[in-house]
């Protein structure tokens, strides 16, 4: 039981978005749930800097324990199984950073996020990035880079998508994209932010602020 989650964890820690970008989207004093919160760096920042009531869910037991040992309200759990138990509208923001592509049912997870939260903040690595396209086109093999760094048969990232795919899902399920950014691997804003087509080619990761339609 405690060991299994290791495998389904998204591994590209070094690639995670600059938490500052997510924190910028959160209003002071807000109620926040951070899904896949790791050692709780974002919730600690939100509690300290924004006076937020921030809580976390983490699938990796070692990380969840680190967060709890740091006095943070984090539960061991996972997005697929645990969101259903929260009441409607329990949070102002529900954050899912670098985890969407690793959950079993991304569409259901998004639905739950926008049921229990007024806003959802979602970031994910963009599978439409030009380097990945180029590698697939030229080598005919599953592409890899710093973000997609494990072979296809053992990657925890079972639901990769592109920035345009994500726009399409939001339109299909009636979510309003309040804000979106494409960022490079350092978490900095990319200059192609007004064009989904360009962002989908050059953005390493997408960051979205959604609300129910």
């Amino acid at each position: 039981m405690p060991d299994a989650p290791q495998e389904i964890r998204f591994v590209a820690k070094n690639m995670r978005l600059d938490l500052r970008l997510i924190a910028e989207m959160v209003a002071p004093g807000a109620r926040v749930l951070d899904i896949g919160c790791g050692d709780g760096a974002l919730i600690e920042h939100l509690i300290r800097e924004k006076g937020a009531d921030a809580r976390g869910i983490e699938i990796d037991m070692a990380e969840a324990t680190e967060a709890v040992a740091a006095g943070l309200p984090v539960i061991h759990g996972d997005a697929d199984a645990d969101l259903a138990f929260y009441p409607d509208g329990a949070f102002d923001y529900v954050v899912l950073s670098r985890t969407l592509q690793a959950v079993e049912k991304p569409r259901e997870v998004l639905r739950q996020m926008l049921r229990i939260g007024r806003f959802a903040i979602v970031s994910f690595p963009n599978f439409g990035h030009w380097q990945l396209r180029w590698k697939l086109l030229t080598s005919g093999r599953m592409p890899d880079n710093e973000t997609w760094d494990r072979p296809w048969y053992e990657t925890p990232n079972i639901h990769p998508c592109t920035i345009r795919d994500f726009f399409a899902l939001c339109a299909q399920d009636g979510y309003v994209v309040e804000r979106w950014l494409a960022v490079d691997d350092k978490g900095l804003r990319s200059p192609w932010k007004r064009s989904p087509w360009l962002a989908n080619l050059f953005g390493e990761q997408g960051l979205f602020l959604l609300r129910r339609g």
Binding site: P2, T65, V68, A69, Y86
Partner: protein
């Protein structure tokens, strides 16, 4: 164990008497109410650093000091003490013997009283009224108020102690800043009730129990009580732990002789049983196991655990242990989900260990780090 044993030595425990008594869930009143307790550390000027520790079925108030009967170290010295997760240099730690216990609080071995609180010159025995976990908590609340404490920084406990923690948070939410129910559940399962019933049947079946009136001739149902302890002890350990500690090893022999072979594990259980009867009262065992069996937080709150905690501002740490089959992780997870449904502030970890239910009492550094961090977080929030 052929010889009848005398009841264990009665001691002068530190305790407080409440002459007006306590009205119980069953309708009876126990008057006066005696609450035996121990404290460790110092209460600060703001009276804001008090941590109440709730003990388990066969525990008592001697948390962090040698036991007065056995001389063994306190049952939670791994967790409570200077520099420990429940740091007695920072917190004022209180632990009370539960109502129905046998270490100085009102319970079967104490003198029976009539409706006006007059002593009747005999112990309560099986005439002691049925108590619930909530009754135990009400008695502890009297003690806490007696000590001049309006709000507890934390209530912490494992197993039956965890049930008390949940009952504290549900019944007196404004008095509890932080609650840590460890290796516990919101109700006692059918399997757990079944194991308890085996223990009770062993006591009832011992001729020395004499329908509960064993105090009349100074004998105790040692055989029955020790069998009850042996059965219970198996449930506190995991199969892996038993295998690791004893395997199939024999006592004093390297191979089976088919004569008087004794497996190490048998010898261990017999020892556990025989030492237990030197410090625990059989009628208390019956009373307290029943209280655990009665426990069902959902039933007390319209069938929904979440209803017990709606609107609470208490912070929770739920912790379970991977090899605990008496209070399995799934029950802790169900509790966490109920707390989430109540929008409570909750932390939850499952500690990987092969030590079974007993792990909460033992040297588990990861658990200790989580508990220590949780308490520091709660203390920081209220400025302790």
């Amino acid at each position: 164990m052929t010889e009848a044993l005398a009841p264990f030595r009665q001691l002068d425990h530190q305790r407080v008497l409440f002459e007006d008594g306590l009205a119980l869930d069953c309708g009876a009143v126990v008057a006066p109410l005696a609450v035996a307790y121990r404290t460790y550390g110092r209460l600060n000027a703001a009276r804001s650093n008090a941590v109440l520790v709730c003990h388990a079925l066969t525990g008592d108030q001697y948390v962090a000091e040698p036991h007065p009967l056995t001389g063994k170290s306190g049952w939670w010295e791994a967790v409570v003490g200077p520099g420990k997760p429940i740091d007695t240099e920072r917190y004022f730690v209180i632990c009370a013997n539960v109502l129905g216990g046998c270490m100085g609080s009102s319970g079967p071995p104490e003198e029976m009283t009539d409706g006006d609180g007059r002593g009747l010159g005999r112990p309560w025995g099986t005439d002691f009224p049925s108590v619930t976990i909530r009754d135990m908590v009400r008695a502890q609340k009297r003690l806490v108020e007696h000590l001049g404490i309006a709000r507890l920084l934390a209530v912490v406990g494992g197993s039956m102690g965890g049930m008390q923690v949940l009952e504290w948070a549900a019944t007196y939410p404004d008095m509890v800043v932080a609650a840590a129910p460890i290796a516990t559940a919101s109700y006692h399962s059918a399997q757990n009730i079944a194991f308890h019933e085996v223990g009770r049947a062993a006591i009832h079946g011992d001729p020395d129990w004499q329908g509960g009136r064993y105090w009349e001739d100074g004998r105790i149902p040692a055989k029955g009580l020790s069998v009850a302890r042996m059965v219970a002890h198996i449930t506190y350990l995991s199969e892996q732990a038993l295998g690791r500690k004893f395997g199939r090893r024999l006592r004093g022999a390297s191979a089976l002789t088919f004569l008087e072979d004794v497996f190490e594990v048998e010898s261990y259980l017999r020892y556990q049983g025989s030492t237990f009867v030197q410090r625990f009262d059989a009628n208390s065992y019956l009373t307290i196991t029943r209280a655990m069996d009665y426990f069902d937080l959902a039933a007390e709150h319209g069938g929904e655990v979440a209803a017990a905690f709606r609107g609470t501002s208490t912070r929770f740490l739920v912790a379970s242990f991977s090899s605990d089959w008496l209070f399995p992780t799934e029950e802790s997870r169900a509790l966490v989900r109920a707390l989430n449904a109540a929008a409570a502030n909750v932390s939850f970890v499952e500690i990987a260990t092969d030590k079974g239910h007993d792990a909460f009492l033992l040297d588990e550094p990861v658990f200790h780090r989580a508990l220590g961090g949780f308490l520091r977080g709660a203390a920081a929030k209220v400025g302790v």
